[in-house]
């Protein structure tokens, strides 16, 4: 195979350092005792490739928590659409998160095209990373069929023994590999080991919830009036963690900031959450999703129902973050199971 190369593990540090010399490299590093986050690194030292999915997904680089979209000058009566961006090499992205990025790509490429997103994205080089095992019991990536890569990367690393087998997927990726000069061509043995690993994965990753992939949308369609939403609504405290950590949630608010001169300033786009109480409130006091259960129903329908009609794909990557991040212990797999149970009961 032409597009497979090898990087020795011992050369990883060098590899990262070389790239970091000219570009910002972000990679998973440890946070606290058992959590991880994508952060800037300058060498391989802090990188932890044996990580469970990071607290925030890599979406924070594509859709920053707070980003300038327009700058204005009041006295000149002028608004200027503006983009701040930088070159980034995003290293060590799990397959579920690769899918998450692809989902965002679709949303922001719809008409009217969002050039803040598109132009920023074009400056980010993505290096994926194969998962040989589950992050933890909260993941449902096999159900969502995201435990294997479906494109969406420039380079893809698979860790085997003392080396990485790298799939070179784009010209940008190839240039990067060539620049470091640290990689060698993969041989037959590498290829067969890669195949073996994929075999093994088949035994590790099994659908985590007892429902076929295609049945998920009908399940949610039929569950609009389910009691399960009331039960979840009782537990939920509307902190918005589930949406903030979700790789495919992209709701936002638009806020004006003004400088101390009270003349110039920026219009920014900041992450918002459909779980906030006033998210769907309008003047006059009407709130279209006042109930916490309704808001949770909406969140999951935006993963398992609405986008399927529109884009023929689920917007859940199966990463398990929403479950992990919920202070109140609302569990995605449990929720789906309860819906299944309820339907069985009927």
């Amino acid at each position: 195979m032409e597009n497979l190369v090898i990087l020795k593990k011992e050369d990883l540090n060098d590899f990262v350092m070389q790239i970091a010399r000219t570009k910002k490299v972000v990679a998973p590093v440890k946070k606290g005792v058992k959590s991880f986050a994508f952060e800037e690194v300058t060498s391989g030292e802090r990188i932890d490739l044996d990580y469970t999915s990071t607290i925030l997904p890599p979406k924070k680089y594509f859709l920053p928590q707070k980003e300038t979209i327009v700058e204005y000058d009041k006295s000149k009566k002028k608004w200027t659409p503006t983009l701040y961006s930088e070159e980034i090499v995003l290293f060590g992205v799990h397959t579920c998160d690769l899918f998450g990025i692809q989902c965002l790509d679709i949303i922001f490429s719809e008409n009217p095209k969002d050039f803040n997103y598109i132009l920023r994205k074009n400056r980010i080089l993505i290096i994926g990373l194969e998962c040989s095992n589950y992050c933890d019991e909260n993941a449902s990536c096999a159900l969502m069929d995201n435990h294997n890569p479906n494109g969406g990367y420039d380079l893809f690393f698979t860790e085997i023994d003392d080396r990485f087998i790298i799939h070179v997927n784009t010209y940008h990726g190839e240039k990067l590999i060539n620049k470091t000069g640290l990689c060698t061509k993969a041989d037959k043995r590498d290829i067969s080991e890669l195949r073996l690993l994929k075999e093994r994965k088949r035994n590790v990753f099994k659908n985590e919830v007892d429902i076929p992939y295609a049945e998920l949308k009908p399940l949610f369609e039929k569950s609009m009036k389910s009691k399960v939403w009331d039960e979840i609504g009782e537990k939920c405290v509307s902190c918005g963690n589930c949406t903030n950590v979700c790789p495919t949630c992209y709701c936002f608010d638009i806020i004006d900031d003004i400088n101390l001169d009270l003349n110039t300033g920026t219009r920014t786009r900041v992450w918002d959450s459909c779980q906030n109480g006033s998210f769907a409130e309008v003047a006059g006091g009407e709130n279209f999703r006042e109930d916490r259960g309704e808001r949770q129903r909406h969140r999951l329908n935006r993963k398992f129902n609405y986008p399927v009609s529109k884009f023929r794909r689920y917007f859940c990557t199966g990463c398990g973050r929403c479950t992990r991040a919920c202070v109140a212990g609302i569990d995605l797999k449990e929720t789906i199971n309860s819906l299944i149970e309820e339907k069985k009961g009927n």
Binding site: K31, V327, A328
Partner: protein, 250 residues
Amino acid sequence: MKAKVAFFDFACCEGCQLQVANIGEALLDVLDKIDVVEFREVMSEKSGGDYDVAVIEGSITTKHAIERIKEIRSIAKVLITIGACASIGGVNGMKNNFELPEIKKYVYGEDEKYFDSVPTMAVDQVVKVDYYVHGCPMYVPEFVTVLKHALMGIPYKAPEKSVCTECKLNENECLFDRGLTCMGPVTRAGCNSWCINNGNICYGCRGMLDDPAKTGQIEILKKHDIPLEWVTNKFNMYNKAKDVKENENE
């Protein structure tokens, strides 16, 4: 015309005023937009009651203070409270956990009777407040935002989200997962999860959420095996003043 701004302090540690000084050279930009006409901590000038905006720090703990704040309110077009003491009562409210004569006696012995002291109240328990800057100490970026809103004459509302929201955005490992009780889930956001970013728990200094989802909160405690009193005890640290009924101190 520049707005005339006056700073007043009641029972407090004056830390929020100090936060103003900590703005640094940018303070001069602020001073470019306003006329500070009274600020006892750093200025000897007195305005003689001519000002547009009153910035209030500290809680109301004496009869004299009740009269003074009413007077300030009657002059001020706009009234801003800064810090937990003024906005929700703050740590001063902890004295409301005790019988007043008893706690006074503990601290001052037999001279207790000379003291003018009433149960601690937040400013809005006595007069109307237009803008709140929460926190102990107040979070400076929020203060600047509120000031700008006040100068532009538009309303400002602190975020309705909980501190957890910001905590997650800062990618902190949740302290509940490490066996600690954090007030984040019930506390109003806006401080950028200051304490958790620095490895401590949230103490709830910004006050309780308007709508904290009680059943859900109890669920959280159950999930982590935490007795309710741990939380109420912590909660009382900043929020006890709000127990005082209206007009109780008049």
